[in-house]
């Protein structure tokens, strides 16, 4: 078994070269941001760069990907188009009672509270996962928001 494992690992290592770990979430700071909103010299306080959105996408896969996908319901509901959507409103997903009765629209503010501590925000939810760091929540939310303004996402709401 050990010999087989070693052979398998060596073969796969030789075949493949791309890195997922190497893309681990290094979140670009605001200082490196390409502003999405720019009027004159003003800087939007919540400006998010393309780099930060990309980092949010990587972080989403690593932290949320155990239970969620963008386009398929799994442990949790699909996420494409979640920004701006009413909570508990994906028609073909079986929500907890807490989410069925949760009168909230997902915005930056509500998603931030949800991801920080979902059971405190919607007691009785099945989601216990917390995204502790504010900067990580910010880029994940920016990533989800970036996916909610497309024709594809509107078609799947």
């Amino acid at each position: 078994m050990k010999r087989q494992l070693n052979i398998m690992l060596c073969c796969c290592a030789a075949l493949l070269s791309s890195s997922v770990f190497a893309n681990d979430a290094k979140i670009p700071t605001a200082a490196t941001a390409t502003q999405l909103i720019s009027e004159g010299d003003s800087v939007a306080p919540n400006a998010v760069s393309d780099d930060q959105i990309a980092a949010g996408g990587r972080l989403y896969k690593q932290r949320c990907g155990g239970c969620h996908s963008l386009d398929r319901n799994r442990i949790g509901p699909r996420h494409r188009g979640v920004y701006g959507r009413k909570a508990g409103s994906v028609g073909d997903f079986s929500y907890s009672e807490a989410l069925q009765n949760f009168d909230v629209v997902w915005t930056e503010s509500t998603l931030d509270k949800w991801l920080e501590n979902p059971t405190a925000f919607a007691n009785g939810t099945s989601m216990g996962f917390r995204l502790r760091k504010a900067e990580e929540r910010k880029v994940v939310i920016a990533y989800l928001k970036s996916l909610s303004d497309t024709a594809e996402s509107r078609g799947k709401k």
Binding site: D24, G66, R72
Partner: protein, 190 residues
């Protein structure tokens, strides 16, 4: 719902006294932690989160089943996948016992076809694709367990951390098989 008249550890049986506290001694025996007490609301919340974890394990078990029968894997890789699947079955069984002991109904598994659709298994074309899917699921599962620990009652912290450790082990093996470099920074998960 479980037949609480036949379940000595059901919430209704255990919810006694003015403080409506719940003995978790039986659960502690399962998960190997010291006895604590929790409110009914805490227990209900724990059941919901543990059931989500059961769903996660159901999906993991199905993913390895789909992979093992895909015809895309070398025999040695199938053998490793079956071993990992066994770990997930062990997790599932522990979680099911915990939920039942708390008086809850464990979440049911879906059909293999449904999991195949959920995981977009039709897109898998070779062994590398399968390993990448498995790595994503294992990494996500490790992070999921670590991220839900603060939301669970303290009696389940250790077992959730143990399960996160198993998932991280799986992810490390798979990442190595895929030729991933060793992460430079500490705190790789969570």
């Amino acid at each position: 719902m479980p037949d609480i008249t036949r379940n000595p550890f059901s919430r209704r049986h255990l919810l006694t006294g003015a403080g409506r506290t719940l003995s978790l001694a039986a659960v502690s025996l399962i998960v190997g932690s010291k006895m604590k007490t929790a409110s009914a609301a805490d227990v209900s919340q724990d059941v919901k989160i543990l059931n989500a974890a059961i769903s996660l394990e159901h999906e993991g078990i199905a993913a390895y089943q789909i992979a093992a029968t895909s015809g895309l894997l070398q025999p040695a890789v199938v053998e490793i996948g079956v071993a990992f699947q066994g770990h997930h079955k062990g997790h599932r069984d522990l979680l099911v016992k915990a939920v039942e002991t708390l008086g809850g109904k464990p979440s049911a598994e879906k059909s293999l076809d449904e999991y195949a659709k959920d995981l977009n298994a039709a897109s898998l074309k070779n062994q590398t694709d399968v390993l990448r899917l498995a790595l994503g699921l294992e990494r996500g599962a490790a992070n999921a367990y670590l991220g839900l620990i603060p939301s669970l009652g303290p009696d389940f912290h250790q077992v959730a951390a143990q399960m996160a450790g198993d998932e991280a082990f799986h992810a490390a093996i798979l990442a190595n098989a895929l030729g991933e470099p060793i992460p430079k920074d500490a705190l790789i998960f969570g």
